[in-house]
Amino acid sequence: MAKLWLHPSLILILGSLLLLLVPARLKRAYLFLIPVLLFARILTMARGEFGQVHFLDWTLVFGRVDALSSVFGYIMALMCIIATLYGLHVKDDAQHIAAWFYVAGSIGCIYAGDFLTLFLFWELMAFSSVFLIWFRGRKESLGAGYRYLLVHVAGGVLLLAGIVLHCNAPGHDWSFNLMDVAHPTPAMYLIMTGFILNAAVPPLHAWLPDAYGEATFNGSVFMCAFTTKTAVYALCRGLAGMEILVPLGVIMALYGVVYAVLENDCRRLLAYHIISQVGYMVAGAGLGTQMAINGACAHAFAHILYKGLLFMGCGAVLHMTGESKFTELGGLWKKMPWTFVFTLIGGLSISAFPLFSGFVSKSMIVSAGFEEHKYWVGFLLLLASSGTFLHTGLKVPYFIWFGKNKPKQDTWDRAAEPPWNMNAAMIIASVLCIFIGCYTPYLYKMLPYPALAADYHPYTAYHVFETLQILLFTGLGFFLLLRKLVPEPTISLDMDWFYRKGWRVFLWVARKPVQTADTFIGELYRLAGLVPLMVSARVAGLFDNEVIDGMVDGLAESIRGIGRRLRFAQRGQMQQNMAFAFAVAAILIIAFLLYSNFTALAK
């Protein structure tokens, strides 16, 4: 190959570094230009393997362009345009840089041809997206960001362990291809765990609502599109047909629905529905047939758009009113009617209403389940889609824009339609959602098995009436049980309890026996307080009180004091350290990419 192969991630990484030098009046144009360049680059990329770098004993492949990676690359670049447009008015350069690095990480994973490159970009994703949470600037976002990072670092370690074990086994190399899913090894399970942690499969999912509910209004729009869908890609690429993914996917689909009923924060509700929707894709990857893989890819494609749209709608409400809780919102149709319409389009798309994007993608996975004669998969996924319409199509629009609840006066006064760029982003996403739903060849031609997809017809009378009946009667149930669904100002405990509260249980266990023993000894002294023993008892009591308790308390107190001080010292510095380490990593990646380009050029 004698021509230069430009890695699409490089456009974003260099683009974000140059952003700092762009004068303020050109900034908006520049912010729009870079994602468009990325999209253009992805559209013009030829199929094949590019960007090979020999590094020590390994051959790193930065650019494997085939049908599967192309469809994911296409939609991610498109979403990058929409999401950047949505946050165009944000003045803080750092937010754009973090978002673009995050997208670069995601696209790097998509085109990675070997496990090491995949891992490199996988970590880049985690370490850049955490800034999108921290930039919200609330006390809660600091904690949520750290939890997000810790969970992802743990997942990354499992993934790396799996990769090392898998690739060093005899007969394996470092290339990232479909593994022997019929004979899973412990290494494959480790890799799978790393993947499904990013896909937010319960019980490894709690980071998702925790983080996405706490990120900035536009940060969540980025986050909802990339991390989980990159994981879906990785599952489709490496573990398609792995049996265990089918039940996991179905559990996910229903789990998200149940928690969405309880949720009071609209963005956390949407986050639980990501879990539910990604469940379809995970189940599709687990089924592993051509139809199912087509379905998983199509659904990921559609999902990125409609979920982005939903997060944009709720993000607009948050941005304008400062509120995202149902109990603090209501009746906004007078103030933000267009935002309502866009959110509703997102809601109808995710619910798979005919003529909207979800209808032509979700049904592929359900059909694949039925065709494999796994009827329970089909029926349970249809049950989950009833729940999806219940919440995202009905509960979110109803309790924000209608409902009996009246927001506080200042919330009401602040409410208004968002700035033009946010509206423009929502319009583009809405149009695409309807276009995909109406004109199926647009999406179906891009799928990994286009011939099979061309034979699939979602608009049969039976399928349309099946869907209409399920959804419309779900609507009936919603309005009949409306009183049950009135949001309550609560939070729901989830698996994050174990790392947010679990340490307290540990402390309690450690402290309680010590205290009980202490009291018991004290009591023993008191009861045995016969005259001859009084003096010695008093001395012992004195010893117990002054020395032992003093030491224990003093030690505990000083450790707590040090810990408290260290913790505060750490928080500020650690973020700086991370930003620094992150910059070094970025430079290394750029060096690698440039090197790969030049070696390709030299050949």
């Binding site: 629905v257 149940v258 928690y259 009923v261 309880l262 149709w333 007078k334 009617p337 267009w338 309502f340 319409v341 039925f370 065709e371 004669h373 009827y375 089909g378 249809l382 049950l383 009833s386 729940g387 219940l390 049969t460 009378a461 039976y462 009436f465 099946e466 209409l468 009946q469 399920i470 959804l471 419309l472 009667f473 779900t474 609507g475 009936l476 149930g477 919603f478 049980l481 049950k484 669904l485 309550e488 100002p489 609560t490 939070i491 729901s492 405990l493 989830d494 947010r500 509260k501």
Partner: protein, 131 residues
């Protein structure tokens, strides 16, 4: 703005909207039951051939999801919003307590003449005396 007017128009005729919606529900079920309209040849399982099967499925599914989730949530999964917050609200209480003697002192220095003065009034007068 026209959109808001349209929504208002529909809201003012809520009863009509509800009747139309019910008619649509009935229509969908009836059409589904007519074999000439909906060909059920490709249905995978027996129950799918029953008339209104998917309508009942959707409705019952929705009710089950709501009732089960609420039951599950009230087992103790739903909890107060500050559940995860560390108990350290003593600082603000202290600060408000520290202000009390000051305001009392200003009240003592300036006995109110007619009506209880609020904080802003008291502070303004005090500032004027110092100046």
């Amino acid at each position: 703005m026209n959109l808001a007017k349209l929504i208002e128009f529909l809201r003012n005729r809520l009863k009509t909207v509800i009747w139309i919606s019910c008619a649509v529900l009935a229509l969908v079920v009836v059409l589904d039951a007519i074999p000439a309209v909906v060909d059920k040849e490709h249905a995978h399982t027996g129950p799918e051939h029953w008339p209104a099967f998917w309508a009942v499925f959707g409705f019952v599914g929705c009710v089950v999801i709501i009732l089960f989730s609420k039951w599950f949530g009230h087992l103790g999964i739903m909890t107060r919003e500050d559940y995860y917050e560390e108990p350290s609200s003593a600082a603000t209480a202290d600060r408000s307590a520290a202000f009390t003697p000051q305001s009392v002192a200003s009240h003592n220095a300036l006995p109110p003449k007619g009506g209880a003065p609020n904080d802003g009034h008291g502070r303004a007068t005090k500032g004027g005396r110092h100046g």
